[in-house]
Every structure is written in structure tokens, then in C-alpha cells.
């Protein structure tokens, strides 16, 4: 694979995540890189879990060990806070008669899914049928959830073009809540929402509803390719790795994944994301899956361009202004927007954002 893949796979963080035993031989400088990259990519607590279940945290020198223990505490705190928010929201939305489906980090942690150990989750993402959203907003407003994006342009942008309403923030607790009605924006080129994720959802872990396994995997891939935020790209690939590894042995995973990738028209996104996870973490994939996804998604040049770019943007070991990481992130940001909406919508949107930015920076200074 590309140089970006081998560079990323050689970083202390990735080496330790892949095989915790490798960390035993780390020099202090390597521990420092692992801690810094882990903190940046939100993978420090995941690393701590891997080490604790492998050679034990006691084998780690005192300096880095304190940061690993701190990360475990933070992850524990976030999981407690998340559980509380999810219960409150479920209670608030009970009159709807439709129980929301948890997405992304909330689904992993509260569903007890493979990426859960050490997974940091800042906001609660929920899926509801689109028709329920106005009533859901009213019910949540009564419990103190207000919009976090009061600017009229942002409101219109979300409500007209996005697959979610503008984020809500709790007035007292400050926690963020994202209400989705689909997994991808309606204008997205990466894929389309087949509209049956809610119907196929299952109960898991603590009794919350989460998407079916294949839908979780497809969503993780769509999110990685479509999101403009690449600081935590490595964490998203780690989520994919954990899920694929845990479910690989189950009969029918390949067929189910192919069927759902087709339903979402997301073969290309899934191929890129799984290819990137394999390049970094050595994720084992079902026999023939990648080749079939690439053929169906017609990823000719893409696999050689997008995957290395994604990997370069995902490198958390370097500050953004380092050796093309910044450029790669910017390209992936543009690409994320490009895939989200057609140019006739995208160009006016980016122009408006660019015009508003200096005003905001001035107000903050």
C-alpha cells in the first residue's frame, strides 16, 4: 500500500493498538508520541483498555501510565453522562410512540458493541422518522433542549439540505444532541438512505435500540468519508476494525454487508473505509468483499488516491501544519462537502461560510 499507510501503521499509537505487547519495548519518546497521538485522535482510553486486557497497565512506565488511567476515567465519566442523557431523552420522547435509534458512539457504548471499551462520546446522536421530528423538537424543548445554531442561515441549511436538524444543546447541562432522520444527507453522492434503518434496528446492551450490524458498518464508513472533520479519522477506522474483527466469524456477514452497501448505494464509501482500516490496522476482511465492493462501486483511481489521502489526513501524530497533513485535511474537507451536495448548492454555501468566519473570529478575539 501507500507510504501514508505504512507511515501511519509505524506510529507508536497504531503499533500499540494493534499489538499491546509491542508497547513493552517503547522508549520514553515513543510513549510520549503514543500519548499525544492518542489524546488527539481520542484513542487514548481505547489504548488503555487494550493494554489493561493485554500485558497490564502495570507494565507501562509511571509517566504515560498516569495519562492512560486519566483517559479511562474520562471515558467512564462520558459513558455515565451519556447513559443519563439517553435515559432522559428516551423519557422525554416517550409520547411519540416511536423509540429513537442510537447512532455512532452512543450506539457503541450503550449498546455494548465491540468499539465500546474506551470509546469517547461527546454528543448523543439519535435517529427518528422525519415525520416525528417537529413533535420531538417540541417535547425536547420542554425539557430544556434549545438549538445550538441560532443563525437563520444555519437553521435553513440544516433543515433544507441535511439529514439532521440543527444540533440541540441542553440549557443547563450543556450536552449536545443531534436528531437525524437519515444516515446521509439527501443530496449526498456517497450514498442514499434506504429509509429502513429504524425498522431493522435491534435492542442491545442496556435495552436501547441500535442499528443492525451491517447498518452500523455502512454508517461508520459513510460518516468517515462524508465528514469534514478528520482529527478523529483514525478513531473511526478503529471503530470499523473492532466491529469487523468481532463479527467476522458470523455466517453471512459478507452477504449482508454487500446487500446493505447496495441498498445505501455506498459500495465505494465502504470499500474506501474498509481498505483504509485494513491498511492501518490490518483489519481482516471477508474473502473477496473488498474486490466486489470496488467493482460495484467502480473505484478505479479512487482507491489509489482517496485512501492514501484519508490516511494522511488521519495521522494524529503530527500537528495539522505538518508535512501535508494540513493540505490532506483540507482536500478531504472539500471532498466531504463535494460529496455532500451538488456544486450549485456547495459553492454558495462555502462562500457564505467564508464570509461569516472573519466576523465570528473578530467577535471572539
Amino acid at each position: 500500500m501507500s507510504g501514508a499507510a505504512s507511515a501511519l501503521a509505524a506510529t507508536p499509537l497504531v503499533r500499540a493498538l494493534r499489538s499491546p505487547e509491542a508497547a513493552a519495548g517503547f522508549r520514553p519518546a515513543e510513549w510520549e508520541l503514543a500519548v499525544r497521538a492518542g489524546r488527539r485522535a481520542a484513542l487514548l482510553a481505547a489504548l488503555a483498555h487494550r493494554l489493561a486486557r493485554g500485558p497490564g497497565l502495570g507494565t507501562v512506565p509511571a509517566g504515560p501510565r498516569r495519562h492512560l488511567e486519566a483517559a479511562l476515567r474520562l471515558a467512564g465519566h462520558q459513558a455515565r453522562a451519556l447513559r443519563h442523557e439517553a435515559m432522559v431523552v428516551r423519557g422525554a420522547l416517550a409520547p411519540l410512540g416511536v423509540e429513537p435509534v442510537l447512532l455512532k458512539g452512543a450506539a457503541y457504548v450503550l449498546g455494548g458493541l465491540p468499539p465500546a471499551p474506551g470509546r469517547l462520546v461527546a454528543d448523543l446522536d439519535l435517529l427518528l422518522p422525519r415525520a416525528c421530528l417537529p413533535e420531538a423538537e417540541r417535547l425536547l424543548f420542554r425539557q430544556g433542549w434549545l438549538t445550538a445554531e441560532p443563525h437563520p442561515y444555519d437553521q435553513r441549511y440544516y433543515r433544507e439540505w441535511m439529514h439532521e436538524i440543527p444540533p440541540l444543546r441542553h440549557a443547563r447541562r450543556g450536552t449536545l444532541l443531534d436528531l437525524h432522520h437519515a444516515l446521509v444527507p439527501p443530496t449526498s453522492r456517497l450514498g442514499c438512505d434506504p429509509g429502513d434503518v429504524g425498522a431493522r434496528a435491534v435492542r442491545a446492551g442496556e435495552g436501547f435500540r441500535v442499528p443492525a450490524r451491517e447498518d452500523l458498518l455502512v454508517h461508520a464508513a459513510l460518516h468517515r468519508l462524508g465528514d469534514g472533520e478528520h482529527e478523529r479519522a483514525l478513531r473511526d477506522l478503529w471503530d470499523l476494525d473492532r466491529m469487523v474483527r468481532a463479527w467476522l466469524g458470523e455466517a453471512g456477514l459478507r452477504e449482508a454487508l454487500e446487500a446493505r452497501a447496495a441498498a445505501f448505494r455506498a459500495e465505494r464509501a465502504l470499500a474506501y473505509a474498509l481498505g483504509a482500516a485494513r491498511a492501518v490496522f490490518g483489519t481482516p476482511l471477508p474473502e473477496g468483499l473488498l474486490a466486489r465492493l470496488e467493482a460495484r462501486g467502480r473505484c478505479r483511481l479512487g482507491a489509489r488516491v482517496v485512501v492514501p489521502l484519508l490516511l494522511r489526513a488521519a495521522d494524529p501524530a503530527r500537528p495539522p501544519a505538518w508535512r501535508g497533513v494540513g493540505a490532506a485535511r483540507w482536500l478531504m474537507y472539500v471532498r466531504g462537502h463535494w460529496t455532500r451536495m451538488p456544486l450549485r448548492l456547495l459553492i454558495p454555501h462555502l462562500l457564505r461560510k467564508a464570509r461569516r468566519r472573519p466576523a465570528r473570529a473578530g467577535a471572539a478575539a
Binding site: R27, P28, A29, W31, E32, R36, R39, R40, P61, G63, P64, R66, H67, E69, A70, A71, R73, L74, G76, H77, R80, A81, R318, P319, P320, A321, W322, A364, A365
Partner: protein
């Protein structure tokens, strides 16, 4: 006074300090934490050389807890209104500030690192000083006069553990020293200069977001004892009251103190139930008071009065 044989910053010639700050960074040990600092600014080099003179330098290839920098902001503005920003791991956690305040930007940034990331400890918003291994916690909001009192105490027989952030070990409730410069604000600068001529103060920084301020070097003996944790024995909430009595020390209820401390901690929620229990134990083991003062000598005398009395109750 070297700590465990490590070279101190003061042993390094000034050009070498500046060169390290411009290059791979200067790794400063502050108690259990190592900060690796980089900066091209002469004011930052001067601040570190003067106020961290007795601090040990950590190994160049060793583990640093926090990699930080204070760097000038580029762009057209630098000719009109030069600014600097604090960088943690290459990223700015907050907005740029005027370049003249660079030393304060570094100190605030270092505080931010501890408050935001040092969850290995329960981090309380309090100054901490100790007599031997028995600690006095001075919690309080900014502007309550805790730094002035802390500076006076460390020149009157107490040792400095921290001016701003108390690191409580979740395992045993001991406070770990992180001796760093004490930030004196407004009238406190003049009070300490006049009353303790031996105190080493850096340049006065004008019109910062906390008003005029100057940093005071921690006493060498406090820096030398940075490896010795102390058990919290007294909690005193100070309040500077120019219209009040010279100094008045009054007992405070422990329950209220506990709730107040937990609310003002940087990370008590991160520590959850175990953290709350630990904090409750700490408060239960302390005599709790409020101190209002307008005269620094009277305040020192009142706090000195606490020490022998508590010595007996604790032995018993």
C-alpha cells in the same frame, strides 16, 4: 538546590536556555509533571530563567506530560498589534493575547493543561502550602486574595505546593506539589514587594485579563521538596476585605465546604463517585475555616495559630 542530582535550569547559561526554547524544547520538571516548552520569544526565556531557576530539567529524550509553546501570531496584524498564542501539542486551546503578556500566556496555558488533562488527580481550584508534610488548602475564586496570602505564607515558614491547582491523589488523598511561580495581582504585587523584600518577582505585566500582575519565584526550598506530598490538614477560604477586621478566622461547616469544593474542582465529575468519596475524606480530615483579612501580618499570625493546635488533635 538540585533535586536528586538533576541539573537545574539555573545551571544552564542564558544563551543555552534560549537555544533550547527555540529548538527541541526545555523540559521542566514540576513535581510529578514534565512540561516541554518551546518559544522563540526573549520574554519567555527571561521569565523561565528567572522564575524557574531552581527547577530540575528532565532528560531530553524523556517522557514529557505536556508539550507546549508560546509563539507569535503571524499575519498583517503583527505590525499593528503583535500577539502571541499558546499551543498545546501544536493546537491553540484559546485565543491569541497581546505579545507583552507572553509569560502570563505560558503560565495560564500550563494551568489549562493541568485543569483539562491531569485526571490522574482530583484537581481542585486552590493554593496549597505546607508545614512539614501537613498541608493547608486555600480554595477560592480569583480575586479573593489567595495568591497574595499564599506568597506571604511561603516567605513565613510554609512551603509552596501550588498557587492555583491542588493535585489530590485519588488513592490516598495526599496533595502532590507542583511548585511553580505564584501569580500576584493588583495590590498584591505591592504588598509582597514591600513586606518581603527577599521575594523574587518578575516584570510587572500591565492590563492583562486579570489586571496588572507579576509572577513570584517559588522559594528554592519548596522547589527542592517537590517530591514530597503532604496530607491536607486545614482548609481555609480566604477573603481580602479592605473594610473588615485586620484578620478574622471563623470555623466553617464541613458539609458546606465539601459541596463548595466539589463544585469548584476542575474534574470532580470525571472522577465520579469515587472522587466524591475521596474529597469527602479529605474534608473530614481537615479543620475548616474562613479567613477575612485586610492586614497580611495579622492573617499570617492567625494561620500560624492553627498549626500547633492541629498538631495535637492529629497526634491524638
Amino acid at each position: 538546590m538540585p533535586v536528586s542530582g538533576l541539573p537545574t535550569l539555573g545551571a544552564l547559561p542564558a544563551p543555552a536556555v534560549a537555544a533550547r526554547l527555540r529548538g527541541a524544547g526545555l523540559a521542566l520538571r514540576c513535581g510529578p509533571l514534565v512540561f516541554r516548552v518551546r518559544s522563540p520569544l526573549a520574554s519567555v526565556a527571561a521569565h523561565l530563567a528567572a522564575l524557574y531557576r531552581d527547577h530540575p530539567l528532565a532528560d531530553v529524550g524523556g517522557f514529557a506530560d505536556f508539550v507546549v509553546a508560546v509563539a507569535p501570531v503571524r499575519g498583517v496584524r503583527r505590525w499593528l498589534r503583535p500577539q502571541v498564542r499558546f499551543l498545546f501539542d501544536g493546537e491553540p486551546p484559546f485565543n491569541p493575547m497581546p505579545r507583552a503578556q507572553a509569560p502570563a500566556v505560558l503560565e495560564w496555558g500550563m494551568n489549562w493543561c493541568v485543569g483539562a488533562h491531569a485526571h490522574a488527580w482530583l484537581v481542585l481550584h486552590a493554593a496549597v502550602v505546607a508545614r512539614g508534610d501537613r498541608a493547608l488548602l486555600l480554595p477560592g475564586p480569583p480575586g479573593a486574595g489567595k495568591s497574595t496570602l499564599c506568597a506571604a505564607l511561603v516567605h513565613s515558614g510554609w512551603r509552596l505546593l501550588s498557587d492555583e491547582l491542588a493535585l489530590v491523589r485519588p488513592g490516598d488523598g495526599l496533595v502532590e506539589p507542583v511548585p511553580r511561580p505564584v501569580s500576584l495581582k493588583g495590590a498584591g504585587v505591592r504588598v509582597i514587594r514591600e513586606r518581603f523584600p527577599g521575594a523574587r518577582l518578575g516584570a510587572t505585566l500591565r492590563e492583562t485579563r486579570k489586571g496588572d500582575l507579576a509572577f513570584m519565584a517559588p522559594p528554592p526550598a519548596s522547589v527542592a521538596a517537590m517530591g514530597r506530598p503532604a496530607r491536607p490538614c486545614w482548609i481555609v477560604v480566604p477573603r481580602f476585605d479592605p473594610g473588615g477586621p485586620r484578620a478574622r478566622l471563623e470555623p466553617r461547616r464541613r458539609g458546606r465546604m465539601l459541596v463548595w469544593l466539589a463544585r469548584n474542582a476542575f474534574n470532580s465529575s470525571v472522577h465520579g463517585e469515587a472522587g466524591f468519596d475521596r474529597l469527602a475524606d479529605v474534608v473530614a480530615g481537615c479543620a475548616c475555616h474562613a479567613l477575612s483579612y485586610r492586614d497580611i501580618d495579622a492573617a499570617l499570625a492567625a494561620l500560624d495559630g492553627l498549626a500547633p493546635a492541629m498538631a495535637e488533635t492529629h497526634v491524638a
